[in-house]
């Protein structure tokens, strides 16, 4: 059974710590070259390999990632 995942990132509240990048098993995430209102290079998705495992959300200290998934 495979899952397709989607994440929604509250980029304005992301502090760009990068802990989610290290936690993602599918290498879906990177830090943007752009910065948010606080000057942080926020997290963004780079591909559609997300499986909705929520590892990124688990380690996010600021709770800025919401995770969704559906069977495919």
């Amino acid at each position: 059974m495979a899952f397709k995942g989607q994440i929604v990132i509250d980029t304005e509240h992301c502090k760009g710590c990068g802990v989610c990048l290290a936690a993602c098993p599918m290498q879906c995430l990177e830090l943007s070259k752009n910065v948010n209102g606080k000057g942080y290079n926020y997290t963004q998705t780079v591909n559609d390999k997300c499986i909705g495992c929520a590892s990124c959300a688990m380690v996010c200290p600021d709770g800025v990632i919401s995770v969704y998934k559906k069977q495919c």
Binding site: G5, Q6, V8, I9, D10, T11, E12, H13, K15, G16, C17, G18, V19, L21, A22, A23, Y40, G52, C53, A54, S55, A57, M58, V59, C60, P61, D62, G63, V64, I65, S66, V67, Y68, K69, K70
Partner: protein
């Protein structure tokens, strides 16, 4: 993305047949936490808030925040909160719980607060078996005041007041207060967890859940140590700090349950830890 866009996107995904796996709990307020990027305090706050949410006890919780980095914790939890003087949180929590036995009371303290200035209050609240939950965040340093030596700073570890590394002859040994209090009959559940990986976070959350559930049993004090990074104080990136924590903090502070249901866990050798202090070399 503005807040309205975020909510619209979430709704769109639900409309497309996605189910929500994770979203920020409403027991956290909308306030942006002041913690440094990547700090374990944020993750630990989240876990405590999620446990309160999942247990449905938001209207029965009173938290006590310390002095230190988490002094402003009361701004982040949407529950009643008291802010204690440095080290005194267990004394406040003792009275809150004894006068309001139907509440769920937790303290949230760092290593300086809980294991240095507040050692007496910690030991005695534990020894009395107060029916409360103590959350202890150990990052081996005084973060708020600029990275000075904490009671839990490792031998050889650099800090603002041990710039050449902590020396035993000068500063004594790192204090394993969690093992220490596990030997007190008043403690019912004592565990050490960490929050640097998804797996560790899940275990830490289960431990916090158990610690809160234990308040219903009224059998004693539940104590959850969370090993955390202090990337600013350690002068590393958050990801490096998490790795350094695994390599250096964990050999000194082994992760896992120490005491469960009032009994010391079989494979935890508290006596060994009394004499074994590996040297840490910090670049």
């Amino acid at each position: 993305m503005a807040n309205t866009d975020i909510e619209a996107r979430k709704q769109e995904l639900l409309n497309q047949g996605y189910t929500e796996v994770y979203t920020r709990t409403k027991v956290l307020t909308d306030a942006v936490m002041h913690y440094c990027p990547g700090c374990g305090h944020g993750t630990t706050h989240r876990l405590v808030a999620e446990v309160i949410d999942e247990m449905g006890i938001q209207d029965q919780v009173v938290g006590v925040s310390p002095v230190g980095c988490s002094v402003l914790a009361y701004n982040y939890f949407d529950v009643d909160f008291q802010e204690a003087a440095h080290g005194r949180a267990p004394a406040l929590a003792t009275a809150i719980k004894r006068l309001n036995p139907d509440t769920f009371v937790f303290t949230y303290q760092g290593d300086g607060d809980l294991a240095a200035i507040g050692t007496a209050e910690t030991i005695h609240a534990c020894n009395r078996g107060e029916n409360i939950t103590m959350i202890f965040v150990n990052n081996g340093i005084y973060g708020m005041t600029g990275g000075q030596m904490a009671p839990t700073t490792l031998i050889g570890m650099k800090s603002a007041t041990t710039p050449y590394g902590r020396r035993v002859d000068l500063n004594g040994y790192p204090l394993r207060i969690t093992e220490l209090i596990s030997t007190l009959p008043g403690t019912y559940y004592v565990t050490r967890q960490s929050v640097q990986t998804p797996a560790a976070v899940r275990k830490a959350k289960a431990a916090i859940r158990k610690a809160f559930e234990n308040q219903k049993l009224k059998k004693g004090l539940s104590f959850v140590e969370i090993l955390s990074n202090c990337n600013s104080g350690w002068k590393m990136t958050p990801v490096q700090a998490n790795k350094w924590m695994e390599d250096n903090m964990m050999p000194n502070y082994p992760v896992g349950d120490i005491k469960v249901d009032g009994k010391l866990v079989d494979n935890v050798d508290v006596a060994r830890l009394a004499v074994d202090h590996p040297l840490t070399v910090m670049q």
